[in-house]
């Protein structure tokens, strides 16, 4: 109980300024619309993006959405910074794939479509076990215990090939068991819809959780654990239950991943995986419920697409994080909410020209910078293939002065213009915010 409430709030990682816009609250009709739109997107996405790769990505996005949302139950809602969330999704995945193998052998009479629930149960059980010790603590000690447990489990995973399958992991075949209506889950698209269904339901359930007494007390524990004790709640128990629920959803996502990949290897419990959940949940925005959804989508895109597009993807990723944390610590969700607030006061239309200008100039700057980064990488990695490379269709010569000068020029121009746009935008934004504050005051006075 030595942690001051200030510490606790800081650990929750919320940006105070962004939080002020929390008041924006869609009407209930709005909520219906949002959920229907979400369902619709899940339904039609694979019809629009129909290549095999994009379907794989969509399935993985569904899985990632569940796990990132479950992670945010801890981080965003409970102020618990976990470095070991992959342990729970991973254990869910392992148990699920073992169960799948049992189904395959005919020992376990369970429809494949319910397998994720097995994963969920496994995740929850794991959380019951480890959560008992981790949730005794909050703040930094909590973070460090989860780090330790994560490292231990990962190291152990390679040592126990019986259960974890060693380097090769455990593989399985999802086309087993009963086949209701001829659904075998063999084709990716069938699996996609199963995952989409789970994603939708889990998102709904997790959102519902934020509206329950426990969900609210979890927020209270994040903000000021000390006070919570004086309104009758055991903070430890609040954290523990929430931890188990988060473990359950993480386990579901693990179970879905087991179905999707039909193989589970030790990397699913690795620290790198946990780190990715943390980074992308934060990037999406931990202070808003829907933030992690954005984060999850970006995570899959970064790992699957970006890494194919450029060898420098880790560098870009690092830079994106650096800048996001510096300039938008509330994540993408907070940027969206800020603009929604402006929109709700009918002022967004004034801004779009600025946005276009900003985006345009930023793009130019980026192009210049990326051109140079790509040339450096090319020089370093593919020098033997000759100095030429094409970057977005533009032929560049990594050893030619003209390419470099060109890139520098493009970047410098972009940067200059961007700065000009940024300044005007900043002034404009400030003015609008001022007006909005005034308007709020006025409404308050009226009320």
């Amino acid at each position: 109980m030595n942690t001051t409430s200030a510490d606790a709030t800081r650990l929750a990682g919320a940006k105070p300024a962004a939080r002020r816009f929390h008041e924006f609250r869609p009407l209930n009709i709005g909520r219906w619309l949002v959920w229907s739109a979400y369902a619709l997107v899940l339904l039609v996405a694979p019809l629009i993006f129909s290549s095999s790769l994009s379907q794989t990505m969509l399935t993985q996005m569904g899985i990632a959405i569940i796990v990132c949302l479950s992670y945010n139950m801890l981080l965003g809602q409970g102020g618990m910074l976990s470095f070991g969330h992959a342990v729970y999704s991973g254990m869910g995945a392992f148990i699920a794939i073992h169960a799948l193998n049992f189904i395959g052998k005919g020992v376990l009479p369970l429809p494949v479509s319910l397998l994720p629930l097995v994963g969920g149960a496994a995740g929850a059980l794991t959380a019951v076990l480890f959560g008992y010790v981790t949730t005794k603590k909050a703040a930094t000690p909590f973070a460090m215990i989860t780090l330790g447990i994560g490292e231990l489990i990962f190291a152990m995973a390679l040592m126990f090939p019986d259960f974890f399958g060693g380097e090769g992991g455990i593989s399985s075949n999802r086309v087993v068991g009963s086949k209701p209506f001829g659904i075998t889950f063999g084709p990716q698209i069938q699996l996609y819809y199963l995952i989409a269904l789970y994603t939708f339901i889990c998102t709904g359930l997790m959102f519902a959780f934020t509206r329950t007494p426990l969900g609210r007390m979890l927020n209270a524990v994040r903000d000021n654990p000390e006070r919570v004790e004086f309104v009758g709640y055991d903070t430890r128990k609040v954290r523990y239950i929430a931890f188990i629920i988060a473990g359950f959803f993480a386990g579901i996502s693990g179970g879905l991943a087991a179905l999707n990949f039909e193989i589970v290897t030790s990397e699913v419990v690795s620290g790198a995986r946990s780190g990715a959940y943390l980074l992308f949940t934060f990037l999406g925005g931990a202070t808003f419920f829907f933030g992690p959804i954005i984060g999850a989508i970006l995570m899959v895109m970064a790992f699957v697409l970006l890494s194919e597009l450029t060898k420098a993807w880790l560098l870009y990723l690092g830079l994106v994080f650096l800048f996001m944390v510096m300039y938008a610590p509330g994540g993408i969700a907070s940027l969206i909410m800020m603009n929604l607030r402006v929109a709700s006061f009918g002022r967004l239309k004034e801004l779009w020209v600025s946005y276009l200008a900003l985006a345009g100039t930023a793009l130019i700057t980026l192009l210049g910078a990326a051109g140079m980064i790509e040339m450096v990488y090319h020089l370093k990695l593919n020098a033997a293939l000759g100095p030429e490379l094409t970057f977005l269709g533009v032929p560049l010569n990594a050893q030619g002065a003209d390419s470099w000068v060109g890139c520098v020029l493009v970047m410098a121009t972009g940067l200059g213009l961007f700065e000009v746009c940024r300044r005007t935008f900043k002034a404009q934004w400030g003015r609008i915010q001022e007006d909005i504050e005034k308007e709020i005051k006025r409404r308050e006075a009226l009320a």
Partner: protein, 231 residues
């Protein structure tokens, strides 16, 4: 010594001080009175360079507006913030140590002076300041600032949460400061000691000075008291 003219201060976009002007002379206790939210603390922060402001703030004849807080502190202005900003994880002694600006320079005040002033602090010397009682914390902040050997000390609501006897004690010590040639800008809202010890009183309302005069005149000016100090 301290001369303030046409001072405007802002929190982001909200304009809090509207052209404040007053002076504090050498060896003088000036009380700055006013209701909650009238802008007294903001004035103090503006002098210390802790908020955005425009206008003139002169100290011993040189402009100090726009300087960093630590530079201003080095010029000899001490600030005792409101709401007891003690450093909770440091011991009482360490808190006092941080009041000193450099390790070398010898000031008017020693640790012993401080402990002599409030024996309670001496007893609690090696305790974490965070667990001190509310009143003890208040004493500590005052002493901490004195350790920096200021020529002018700005005290924001020092008697808050102090037992009546201690309030009186603080009043006496402020007078002692004055005797040692230190100027005091005392921010208060309960008139109790302010009226007794100050040489001059200022009343602030809505971000500007609405009254200047001796405590005596203020006591007589029922209108000002009613309009700007009480309900």
């Amino acid at each position: 010594m301290l001369h303030i003219d046409n001072l405007h201060a802002f929190y982001g976009k909200s304009h809090v001080l509207h052209g404040v002007e007053f002076e504090v002379n050498e060896g003088e206790i000036v009380a700055l009175l006013g209701r909650n939210g009238s802008g007294r603390s903001t004035t103090a922060k503006a002098i210390m360079g802790m908020v955005d402001c425009t206008g003139t703030v002169d100290w011993k004849g040189s402009h100090i507006r726009g300087m960093k807080p630590y530079e201003i502190a080095h010029l000899g202005i001490g600030y005792v913030p409101e709401n007891r900003d003690i450093f909770p994880k440091l011991t009482v002694h360490q808190n006092l140590l941080l009041g000193q600006k450099g390790t070398r320079q010898k000031g008017r005040w020693s640790f012993d002076d401080m402990y002599g002033m409030f024996p309670r602090l001496k007893e609690r010397q090696h305790t974490e300041a965070g667990v001190l009682s509310g009143g003890e914390q208040q004493m500590l902040t005052l002493c901490r600032t004195l350790m920096g050997d200021p020529d002018l000390i700005i005290i924001d609501e020092p008697t808050e949460g102090l037992a009546p006897k201690i309030v009186e004690l603080v009043g006496e010590y402020l007078k002692k400061l004055k005797d040692r040639g230190i100027s005091v800008l005392l921010i208060e809202q309960k008139l109790t000691i302010a009226m007794q010890i100050s040489d001059r009183a200022l009343v602030m309302g809505h971000g500007s000075i609405v009254f200047q005069g001796t405590p005596e005149t203020l006591r007589q000016d029922a209108y000002i008291r009613k309009e700007w100090l009480e309900v």
